[in-house]
Amino acid sequence: MIAKPGLDGHDRGAKVIVHALIEAGFEVIYTGLHQTVDNIVEAALQEDVTVIGLSILSGAHLPLTKGLMEKLEANKMEDVIVLVGGNIPKRDFDDLHNLGVAGIFPTGSNFEDIVDFINSKVGGKVA
């Protein structure tokens, strides 16, 4: 699932990744814009997703990711793999990893790297 949490409306990257993942054979759900963390977790639960990719360009990636990780934990969904993409400066990588983010793919990341990373984590399982 590719999700756009928070208020940021820049969805070019999120949609491009959806296209790339579909092309790579994944089943992909796109949440659309302006999603709250609650919306995202609820949708992820309902659709039983294996991977959540957050796309954030406003700079609010730390508070938003923290909120999502807490909510996943509260719902006993710690096995969901969380990726973060967008305008993510290197100085925040450690903080994001410490929150439990499995992979960070800032603007300019290759489709192939993202696809390979997901495959390595889920071993061919999809969503």
């Binding site: 820049h10 491009v16 296209h19 406003s58 730390l62 400066p89 100085r91 300019g108």
Partner: protein, 538 residues
């Protein structure tokens, strides 16, 4: 002796993003079909291909208007004054996302976003602070906001009134182009219909009360930034502009007058000459659309006025200093294209909102062009170039085709409401990204001349979390100090009027004057209009 022909050189095919094939050499035969008087015209004369004024920058250089705003109104006020002191000639106001989406700073949904990508405005009190000691009767201010534009314009008009600046003399621009927000940028709130109604209300209100104001700046910029090619950038923007015009015509306004107050915001990145041809073609086409579709004879209505700035989409995370060079070329393109106003994305924008240093560098880039390099000396210096004229003609034909395609989708409003334009644009964004990753499109420093372990010494604009508390504190003060019964009364009237079809601007102004907050006013509209449900199509 038989002279052997030279072995043919195999030249690489060049196809522009717009699909136009570029020949290695252009000559007189390529401009045979272009008639100077009919297709080009003198500067300041129909169809204005060469520029909308007779002497262009020689008489008055383009306005320099860097996008700025962050944290609180008082922080932004300081930045405005700094930029003005450095020679900036207009202001371009950045609002934070909660303000753009009609949320008060203490709304849980605003958490982490207050003052982040622009300044936080909760009520008239903040707006007054933002423009404290700024001569709004002399410096033109552009409000970069869309679904909440009517409210910000209302606040701005109230400030003018309080300072004794007659609305009849007030100049400025609001972005206020909600239709493009559904395609790119994404700060929509209400469904498409009521969103257009708010735009129409502001156009009508300004036509009747603030005649020097530009109530809408129709943006091809964000459509292009979302992935559209340069032809679609213009074609979709014109289709959107026509949708607003058609709606305003129902209010019985004179198109010769109100169309003259519409302006445009376009993007610059990609191929150098393609951009210049795009703008020249766009000017000619708009003049024809306004004359032929709306019967306007007023040259002011026929003139396509624009802000054309360097697009963030062309800048790269990799080797950020290269963006300084790109910015300078974008500024050159903009000046060669006859823009009225210029704003450049700063070199650090792939990382952060611009630091003071980066914003100043962008301003200096524009000043160097005008004051050192002679870009203001003569009008449309590329006119008559075989290549540029041929490309301009081809561009115009392609924009017309693009607009016909939109008509075939059932018109722009339907095509956006149902997500067809968004799908077209996102598919193209994917194709472009795929081509960059495969090396088909070259980005220097990204897929060529890449430095793997580079030092990206970009200084970040620091987000100060404590500013959120400061902002929320001010908001609570406003709520405590104002006449709450009065606020309720004004909001109740607004709610009632929103359900009808009267122009809402006078009632928004009343609510703003009573210090109703951005969130309270947006909530009234959410209640009456509902919220947009995004169509998801891939």
């Amino acid at each position: 002796m038989v002279k052997l022909p030279r072995p043919p050189i195999k030249l690489k095919d060049v196809v522009l993003e717009s699909g136009i094939e570029v020949k290695p050499v252009y000559g007189p035969e390529d401009v045979m079909d272009r008639n100077y008087e009919r297709d080009v015209g003198n500067p300041g004369e129909f169809p204005f291909t060469r520029g909308i004024h007779q002497y262009m920058y020689r008489a008055r250089p383009f306005t320099m208007r860097q996008y700025s705003g962050f944290a609180t109104a008082s922080d932004t006020n300081k930045r405005f004054k700094y930029l003005i002191s450095q020679g900036q000639t207009g202001l371009n106001v950045a609002f934070d996302l909660p303000t753009q989406l009609g949320l008060d700073s203490d709304d849980p949904r605003a958490f982490g976003e207050v003052g982040r990508v622009g300044m936080a405005i909760d009520s008239l009190k903040d707006m007054e602070e933002a423009f404290r000691d700024i001569p709004i009767d002399r410096i033109s201010v552009s409000l970069t906001i869309n679904s909440m534009a009517s409210v910000m314009m209302a606040m701005y008009f109230v400030i003018a009134e309080k300072r004794g600046v007659p609305l009849g003399d007030l100049r400025g621009t609001a972005q206020n182009d909600i239709l493009k927000e559904f395609v790119g940028r994404g700060t929509w709130i209400y469904p498409v219909g009521p969103s257009i109604r708010l735009v129409t209300d502001t156009i009508e209100f300004c036509a009747r009360n603030v005649p020097m104001y530009y109530p809408v700046s129709v943006c091809g910029y964000h459509i292009r930034e979302s992935g559209a090619n340069p032809v679609q950038e213009i074609g979709y923007a014109y289709a959107i502009a026509k949708a607003y015009i058609d709606d305003v015509l129902k209010r019985g306004l004179d198109p010769d007058k109100f169309i003259a107050r519409l302006s445009f915001n376009f993007d610059i990145h990609g191929n150098f000459f393609e951009q210049i041809a795009k703008f020249r073609a766009a000017r000619g086409l708009w003049a024809r659309i306004v004359r032929d579709d709306y019967g306007c004879e007023n040259p002011r209505a026929q003139k396509m006025k624009m802000i054309a700035g360097g697009g963030g989409g062309g800048l790269t995370i990799e080797q950020p200093e290269n963006n300084i060079v790109r910015g300078a070329y974008y500024a050159l393109i903009s000046a060669l294209s006859g823009t009225q106003t210029m704003a450049l994305c700063s070199y650090d924008e792939a990382y952060t909102i611009p630091t003071k240093k980066a914003a100043l560098l962008s301003l200096r880039t524009m000043q160097i062009l005008v004051e050192e390099m002679g870009l203001a000396d003569t009008v449309d210096p590329l006119a008559g170039s075989y290549y540029v004229e041929s490309l301009t003609g081809e561009f115009e034909r392609r924009i017309i085709t693009c607009m016909k395609d939109v008509d075939d989708m059932g018109g722009i409003v339907k095509a956006i409401s149902e997500g067809y334009i968004q799908r077209e644009v996102s598919r193209q964004a994917y194709e472009t990204e795929r081509k960059i990753q495969s090396g088909e499109i070259i980005k220097v420093g990204v897929n060529k001349y890449r430095v793997e372990e580079e030092d990206r010494a970009v200084e970040y604009h620091d987000y100060d979390r404590e500013k959120t508390d400061e902002q929320i504190g001010r908001l609570r003060e406003v709520r405590a100090e104002r006449d709450n019964a009065m606020v309720k009364e004004k909001l109740d009237i607004l709610r009632k009027k929103a359900s009808g079809d009267e122009n809402l601007m006078p009632y928004i102004i009343e609510a703003v004057k009573a210090y109703a907050t951005v969130g309270e006013i947006a909530d009234v509209f959410r209640e009456v209009f509902g919220e947009f449900r995004e169509p998801v199509r891939f």
